[in-house]
Assembly symmetry: C2
Homo-oligomer: 256 residues x 2
Amino acid sequence: MNETRPLILVCNDDGYHAKGIQALAEVMKDFGQVLVVAPSEPQSGMGHAITINQPLRLQEIQAFGDLEAYSCSGTPVDCVKLAIYGILKRKPDLIVSGINHGANFSVNVLYSGTMSAAVEGALEGIPSIGFSLLDHSRDADFEASKSIVAKVVSKVLKHGITKNTCLNVNIPAISADRIQGIRICRQGVGHWEDEFIERQDPTGHPYFWMSGAFGEMDKAEDSDNWALRHDYVSIVPVQYDMTAHREIAKLKEWEL
Amino acid sequence: MNETRPLILVCNDDGYHAKGIQALAEVMKDFGQVLVVAPSEPQSGMGHAITINQPLRLQEIQAFGDLEAYSCSGTPVDCVKLAIYGILKRKPDLIVSGINHGANFSVNVLYSGTMSAAVEGALEGIPSIGFSLLDHSRDADFEASKSIVAKVVSKVLKHGITKNTCLNVNIPAISADRIQGIRICRQGVGHWEDEFIERQDPTGHPYFWMSGAFGEMDKAEDSDNWALRHDYVSIVPVQYDMTAHREIAKLKEWEL
């Protein structure tokens, strides 16, 4: 073990079995000492959830060859917390999350377990990056993504990231030669038009499947929506101050 | 049913059994037509999680007297989505979430199911408010909170809230006469120092309980931390653009 190499935590939300995290861990070997802590089961859409009322299980796994790796029964954010405070007892130098099977641009950053793991890293003051490929199929092709990951990670290790921010990287699902480049963007405007499909179980009781379509309403060239629609990789710098600062003065006029 | 009264959706993350949502629903009766959709089980710490890989169950319940009410098997955000797109098939005029048993100031807005329900309302363009009492005990006293809720709701119905923002209201756990007033604040700086308590199950396998203490690092008078420490109710206007706008120019210099 070379102690001068950066210590890199690899996690995701699709679970340790996913092709995306296998690709990510493989790329990260070139950059430092790797620890993988990933959910034992898929945890897509878990957002910033943490496990409060249940204990967590941690299992050492061999799924990543000679890399130290654990599966965790909890959420992506649990994985980050458990890695730092339970396994390492120190902060890693970098956290990478993904590569997600599916897009996490626009407001999807809120629902995404992949990105919440990166945001949790930012909360800890650790440079963190979430990677997502715009292909949610199980056997998605991560070949082009690997070179994007390597490019972004080498820049982050060189320049650092401003404390308490992280990066949201989305990659179009096309071959490397068709990718037009990498654009730094803001979170685009978008909205889920949800739909609930009602069915009945064999005993006649109803249940609902959440469905629906994502409406991309942002046509501006500085949005991540735009970049991805035009075959660019999008990178949005992300922070976690949710304050609507502009509203403060207005609310003060209410004289509550 | 008086159709000119505002339609108000009441939800929470502690589950429909909780004292806090009972108190909230009771106050809301004075303001409009109320629909309650709340989790069937406690969903604290679920953040912005949604249920993707499982169907959702919805059950009409009588727990709120003559109010129309449902329990939902999913997360707080699922409750909001199901209420809008599954039950109402229209947007309510107001969403109120809580009253949470426990604090949701500072960065806890990220982990809070209570606040994520309000943020989901903001995503839908619906005026939304999350209420939390700084007492996580099951039998917390919500009497003082009720008058705060009524005050804030009446102002919101009068003035409206800027589209795509919501309010994060935290209430100190003291009697009404000791509350110093209401302060409009920004999200304070804070950080969880997590700790994992390791135990062994009867078969000798380890499991971990997440524990730890919240470090309030913000001493500034405009933070919600400060307000609550000084016996004020804090109101933070919340938005969901996570972009670290100031970082965009810096990242562009990386020439990726």
